[in-house]
């Protein structure tokens, strides 16, 4: 049981990579990339979890109450923001690819270049 979060992260990472490899649509590919990235959220949050800990916010609980690690939560926040912006940039590229070649299928794109 204590190993489950890391196994989930490994699973998400690999299933996302698999999606990228077999992808036949650039938008699907960008979504798969964000699945890969979500595995890093799980690793970060799992590493910082403290059994029985509350959120590291001491507004209505006293300082000294058992709480989870705030550092990895801040890192996850950074991770989410970067993930969103990268997705936006990649989707803009997908829009451009579709305009120029009329297809979103990466396989057709490679063959049209030959």
């Amino acid at each position: 049981m204590s190993y489950l979060p890391f196994a989930v992260a490994v699973y998400l990472f690999l299933i996302g990579l698999w999606g990228i490899v077999i992808s036949r649509n650039l938008i699907h590919l960008v979504v798969c990339l964000s699945v890969v990235q979500s595995s890093t959220y799980i690793v970060l949050l799992a590493v910082g979890y403290r059994a029985g800990g509350t959120a590291p916010i001491f507004l209505d609980v006293p300082v000294g109450r058992r709480a989870v690690d705030p550092i990895v939560q801040a890192l996850t926040l950074t991770d989410v923001v970067v993930g969103v912006t990268v997705s936006a940039l990649l989707l803009a590229l997908a829009v451009q690819v579709h305009k120029r070649s009329g297809t979103l299928d990466p396989e057709l794109l490679t063959s049209s270049r030959d």
Partner: protein
């Protein structure tokens, strides 16, 4: 390489990678068995030191403030890149986009959706401001609140008021808001130098933990980030919408 060959190659590599990952994570401490000194120290000390009751915000905007500046620039660069990519193409198009179904009228908007969405714009905007301003006290902050703020114009679009959306979010002020947010972060960082300490040092008066006006630069940085994120996301949104909606709003008259 054929598609089948590529899959075979990937599966072989992925099997090895899976073994390595499982082996590597097996050496990590058990889930919930937390022993890191930094997190424990921050949870014990950060409220007294920064007067921010949200320890995550204290880490993001005080202890790791410099990293968040880098994150801010990533956001800035990505929005800039997206805008450039989508804009270059628009200028190349000499003729307006072709209406593929000129004989068909756009579907009628649902009154229920319209009223609900337009009615929610103001409350959502207020909620976004609340999330930004209370970032140092409770869960939330500039990044989260900025996203909530950006959904207010999105609701206008869902409500069928694309022209209204363009009226309340003209491009130039949005770029100004985004630039001011990102530049404001740097200026607030420089204020540390003004007070004779170091870049991004929390040199402002900190007040009492739990007050809305407290924790010095953490609140100020949250406001700057909130502006940057909200401006950036609405810019992204309008750039993507411009790609398809020019046609629809024209054929609508």
């Amino acid at each position: 390489m054929t598609s089948r060959g590529r899959r075979g190659l990937f599966l072989t590599g992925a099997a090895g990678l899976a073994l390595l990952l499982l082996w590597g994570t097996a050496g990590l401490p058990d889930f919930g068995d937390y022993q890191h000194l930094y997190g424990l120290t921050l949870n014990a000390e950060s409220v007294a030191a920064t007067r921010a009751t949200n320890a995550v915000a204290a880490v993001t905007f005080d202890y790791r403030g410099f990293d968040t500046l880098g994150e801010e620039f990533i956001l800035f660069a990505a929005v800039l890149g997206t805008a450039l990519l989508l804009r270059a193409q628009r200028e190349e198009e000499e003729e307006p986009p072709e209406d593929m179904a000129p004989d068909r009228r756009p579907p009628h908007d649902s009154d229920a959706v319209r009223e609900l969405c337009l009615g929610l714009v103001a409350p959502i905007f207020l909620f976004g401001v609340y999330i930004v301003v209370h970032g140092h006290l409770s869960p939330g902050g500039g990044f989260q609140g900025g996203v909530v703020l950006a959904t207010a114009p999105l609701l206008m679009y869902i409500g069928g008021e694309y022209r209204g959306l363009r009226t309340v979010t003209p491009e130039a002020p949005l770029e100004l808001v985004k630039g001011a947010g990102t530049g404001g972060y740097v200026l607030i960082g420089l204020s540390g130098l003004w007070f004779g300490t170091s870049f991004l040092d929390n040199a402002l008066p900190r007040g009492n933990a739990g007050d809305v006006i407290s924790s010095g630069t953490i609140l100020a940085l949250n406001l700057a980030v909130g502006m940057a994120v909200a401006g950036g996301l609405v810019l992204l949104l309008t750039e993507f919408l411009e790609q398809t909606l020019v046609l629809r709003s024209r054929s609508r008259k």
